[in-house]
Amino acid sequence: MLEVFALPFMQRALLAGLLVGATASYFGVFVVQRRMSFLGSGLAHAALGGVALGLFLDAEPLFVALPFTVLIALLIAWVRERTELGGDTAVGIFFSLSVALGVVLLALKSEYAADAMAFLFGSILAVTPADLWAMVLVALASLLTLPVWGRWAYATFDRDLARADRLPVLFDDYLLTAMVAAVVVSAVKVVGILLVAAFLVIPAASARLFARTFAQMTLFSILFGLFGVVAGLVLSYLYDVPSGATIILVESGIFLLSLLASPKT
């Protein structure tokens, strides 16, 4: 079965999958505990606007979508912080705005509609070297933020305690939002805009079902994310079905098993 990965494009797919699988499921634990799933799905749609903008400008789509989506994410965080509008309302507004922008831009350059489809449903086998570089970049940035885990976790548990301990809670919020946006964009080529939110959340949710500590939850989530990518890729190759959807199906299977195996609460 491993000879599958002897093929160069499969190696690239595997590397891409492992990179985004690890980062998405790592940030997923914060997304789940902070109830930010809707932000994840909103940012995925915002990424569509960024990708369309990239195609429209004849640039590398991911390298335009990355700053674009991070900017949208920061705007959402800013509106949420400055007004009494709920986070979900801010997400809803900016996400529709980006999708609308994307649709208009794609209509202006209709020859790129097919490329856009690759982002909508994901196409890990079509990952280009440039895409891979974008993923490496995001993974490196994620590594750099590893020391912030304890601060993010602390503020996730109790914002006021973290503030009383002089943690830069507000800065950390913006940083987390920006990182989630970057991770979402980097994962879009692998699982597709429609499924990115699930990719972010399902491993963490499965891990939550039997983790006793937040550290355990984080480790299990990454493990499930990586396993989902590898198993999903192999299955999608063997049965010749879309890889992104297969990965999500595998992860959903893990979730169901966790549900059955976890102690009742």
């Binding site: 885990w149 602390y154 548990f157 109790d158 006021d160 301990d165 939550r208 983790a211 500590t213 937040f214």
Partner: protein, 251 residues
């Protein structure tokens, strides 16, 4: 003696609402201050000013001679007013205690941190809670864990916002014993918000009666005078006594 806390003409406004109005105050180091006052009197607001969670709209707050925000977080041990815990967050009691030690959520505990956190739990008679999940603790048990979290960093000042909430009578008596023991060992200052006047009278060196302004501040017998209580609460006598007289009439 050095002042642990100094307020100079401090006001706090939330929008157009004035929660604290021209509060001036000097709390000496080593004092055990009970803060009493009706709901909405600005008691929690006062603690938040000391912690640097809030800035005064007017006036100046100094803590150990420094502006509140310049005080090292390690010097202050805080137990917030009881609020609903996020029970979906996976954590063990020992981790919550240890979070007070390093001001981060712990990924894994070193042997030394584990020992220090266990010692703090022992102080509140909560050793057996160490490896229990936070989401499974009772209200009173949880309060003790939060208390241990405040102790673990050996603060110079404890800021406790109604720490006895959810504790049974024995637990409350125990808590005062722990606080007094800690105070003896570390010459710490204790500021505690409470609705229990009798306990305040018995355990505190100073009582602060607050109702948006300072109504009274001094030794319990003076601050808890009928005059002060009437001005703060609009009536005299401990609430327990009020309900007691009602019951007697029924009988």
């Amino acid at each position: 003696m050095e002042a642990a806390v100094e307020f100079e003409n401090v006001s706090v406004r939330y929008g157009s609402y004035t929660a604290l109005d021209g509060v001036s105050l000097r709390i000496p180091e080593g004092a055990f201050v009970a803060i009493i006052g009706p709901n909405g009197a600005g008691k929690s607001t006062l603690l938040k000013l000391i912690l640097g969670l809030l800035r005064p709209s007017e006036g100046e707050v100094r803590v150990f001679g420094r502006p509140a925000l310049k005080v090292p977080a390690e010097w202050l041990g805080y137990v917030a007013q009881f609020k609903t815990l996020d029970r979906s967050f996976p954590a063990l009691a020992l981790e919550l205690v240890a979070s007070g030690l390093r001001r981060r959520w712990p990924f894994r505990l070193s042997a030394r941190e584990r020992e220090a956190a266990l010692a703090a739990l022992r102080r509140v008679r909560g050793e057996e809670l160490a490896d229990r999940r936070l989401s499974r603790l009772s209200g009173g048990e949880l309060q003790r864990v939060y208390l241990a979290r405040a102790f673990v960093r050996r603060p110079r000042m404890l800021l406790l916002d109604e720490p006895a909430t959810g504790m049974d009578v024995l637990g409350e008596a125990d808590m005062y014993r722990m606080l007094e023991q800690y105070q003896r060992e570390h010459r710490a200052t204790v500021l505690m918000i409470t609705h229990d006047w009798e306990a305040a009278r018995y355990h505190a060196t100073h009582v602060l009666v607050l109702n948006r302004r300072v109504i009274g501040f001094g030794p319990p017998e003076r601050a808890l005078s009928d005059e002060c209580l009437r001005r703060a609460f609009g009536h005299v006598g401990h609430p327990h006594e009020l309900s007691f007289s009602v019951e007697r009439r029924d009988a």
